[in-house]
Each structure stands twice: as structure tokens, then as C-alpha cells.
Amino acid sequence: MQIASLYQEHHLWLKQFLYSKLNCQAQAADFAQDTFLRILNKQKRNTLEQIHTPKAYLTTLATGLVNNHWRRLSIEQAYLETLAAQPQCLAPSPETQQQIVDLLEQLAQVLEKLPQREQQVFIMARIDGMAYKDIAEQLHITVNMVQKAMCKAVLACIEVQTQ
């Protein structure tokens, strides 16, 4: 795949597309660069799929990046709100706060990939630390169903972490 020609042909157009979304030239330029960077990285890892329709491909990729950006930003703000509601002495250090936002971002992405039941099971197991049999009891499902839900959820975690 000739990334150089892809860049030359589509860079300007992509920047314009991003500008229409972001209303900011600098940000649009950054996101356009990031989009091509993402393609380069995919190529490096040999995970770049065949690009049949470059415009559609770039649009999807760029929109994904913008979405991630907004997700990150809004999670950060929402987390600060949550934090503000807690006593100040319990506030974690700025580094820890960043880690927590990272984790929340991952969690949000994982949950987006899962149907509701699987979401519920995953939260109960991973965040609440409940045993599978207790989860099964509380949700009126079998332990086997909890296991299946967890398999899906763990796979979703790995997909999010390796994307």
C-alpha cells in the first residue's frame, strides 16, 4: 500500500472533513496527521486491511479518532466532577487521576462493545469483585451464562487494549 500517495491524494480533503467536524484548523490538522499515523502503525504491525474505498476508510478512521478524543475529554471532566463530590483528603494524586481516567476510558470502550447483560456481569465481577455464583444468583441466570458473558467481556477488554 502506498501510504505516500494516499496521503497526497486525500490529506487536504481529510483536513477539510475534520475541520467541518471540529471547527478548528489546528485540531483538524492534528487529527488528519493522527489518522495517517494510525495507518502507518497498522502497516508496521501488519494489521492493515486492504483499502478499497480510501475516502470511506479515512472517514471512518478519522471519525473514530475524534470520538476517542471526545470520550477521553468527557470522561476526564465527568471524573473530576465525581472527584469534586468526594472529601478532598481522599483525592488521589494527579498521576493516579490520569491512570483512573485511562481505566475509565477503557471500561467505557469495553462496555460499548457488550450487550447489556454482559455489561452487568462484567461490572459485577470486575469492579464489584463479586463471585460468579453470587452474580448468577443476583441476576437469576446460571453460572454457565455468567462464564459465557465473562468470556465475551474479557475478549472485548483485549480488543480494546490492543486496538
Binding site: A78, Y79, I100, L103, R126, V146
Partner: protein, 305 residues
Amino acid sequence: MQQTHDVLEQAIEWYVKHETAPLSLAQKQDFEQWLNEHDCHQQAWQQVTHSQQIFTNLPLSSAQSLSTITKANQSRRHVLKSIAALSISSWLTWRYQKELGISAHLADHHAQIGEQLQLTHLAQAKVALNTHSAINLDAKTLWLKYGEAHIVCQVPLAISSPHCHFNAESGGEFILFDDNKQVRFSALNQRFDIVAHGQNYTVDKDHTLIADRNSTRIVETPRHMTSWTKGMLSVSQMPLKQFIAELSRYLHGSIRVAPAAAQLHISGTFSLTDPKQILSQILHTFPELTLNGVPNAWQVINKKT
């Protein structure tokens, strides 16, 4: 590539088995054998273990994590929808989500601020939505995304809201309210077993569970929690602060009550067809009160000095 994916799935299955119950001796041997069969098995095992361990570092409760994500999602969805307003920071967007009706359009059914909606055509349940509320619905599940709903089930339904879930039988009638501050569940015609903030509760007929961040209590259902289903806000001896908090759910913008005025008490039945009118009625009844600020944005009720 396929090979890697299969190995990953095997690793996940082993991980889930480990979590279900302690492995038997035979299972342990099987697992050891699988693990040592190939380097890629060990890599996959490490990847799976790591992917899960990081979540144990999250020092938030599930309710906190979820409410943070929900808040963030709501603000984000709105931001994505209103491209023209992208320069608004997401914080502002979150702050004003009530005003902007964020995520309402993504729900199956929603009532705007000040609106009450009767959904009588649904096969699964008769639903009345109170102000600023939204539900999603499929054949077996009703999801209250936010706000308040009066529900009479016509089939057995799993009911779910951000902080509460339970199973309701056909014929079960209840009111559920859920926002980021509080969950309220009123059992109207029978006893319900529900889970709120991760805890199990049994709520008897004519009783209401009120659960917020710090406390949970079950009380006899206060009149004002059901009166909205008849289009009324009916209160007796309610502190002004609480009354305005209830009323402001029906109005655009936020209204605060200054501490000096907070201890006044309100009794009466007010029609919700014109919530603004209720506010003027209150000011008329208590001439010592003043209302300052920007209507439909933020206002403060204070005592005249």
C-alpha cells in the same frame, strides 16, 4: 492470525474457569499442560491476566465508575450531534445536559422537560414518563435511561436503570426514578425485590425505597412521589429547598434556594400543567421571598433583607 485468536480464546476460557471456582487436581494438570504446550499459550495467558488485573486498580465503586461513564457518554453524544457547538467544552455540555435534552433523541421514548407522556400503545407495559425522562424497550427488558416512569407491566419484564435493576411480573405496578443523585422506587400494588446500588432490598406495597450516595431508607410512599401521575405536585409540610428541587425538574435551568429561605415549608396541591405558574404562586404566597437571576438558566430564591 486465526491460530492466535483461537489460542486467545482458550486462554480466556481457562481464565474464566479459574475465576469460577478453584480448579480440581485434574483441571490443574490440564491447565499446566496447556500452558506449557507452546510459548504462544503463555503469552496469551499473560495477556489475558494483565487485561483483567488492571481493572482491579480502579479505586472507584461500580456506581461511581458507571455514573462517570454515563455522564461522559451523555455529554459526548451531545457534542457529536451538535457539530456547530463543538467549541463548547464538554464540561459545559455536561452541566447543561438537562437543558439541551442530551441523549433523549437516542432513546426509544422520551419526555422533554416539563412534559408528561402517556405510552399506552406498548405491548409490554403501560408507561407514563415524567418530565425529562427516557426509556428503551425490547420484548423482555425495559431500560430507564434517566428520569422517572410509572409502569404497569403487561408481561414479565426485566427492569433496569443506571443504579437499579429487578424483575417485574405481569401486572406489577411501580414508579422508578433514577438520576445521578438518587434512586427512588415506589411499589404500588405488590411487594418487589429489587437491587439498588448493588444491594438487595424488598419493598412492600405502598412503600418507597430512597437510595442516594450516603444512605438508603424505605418509607411509606409520600404523596408527592405518586401525585405526578395525576398531573399534580402534592406536598405537605415540605421544606422549600426540597420543594424547589422537585419543581425544578419540570423547569428549564436551575433554581437554588439560599440557606436563609430553605427552612420555609410548603403544603398544597399544584397543577403541573404550568410549572412556571407554581413558582409565581409560591412567590405570591411568601412575599418575603425574592427571585433573582436569569430565567430558564439559573435563579436563586432568597429572603428579602
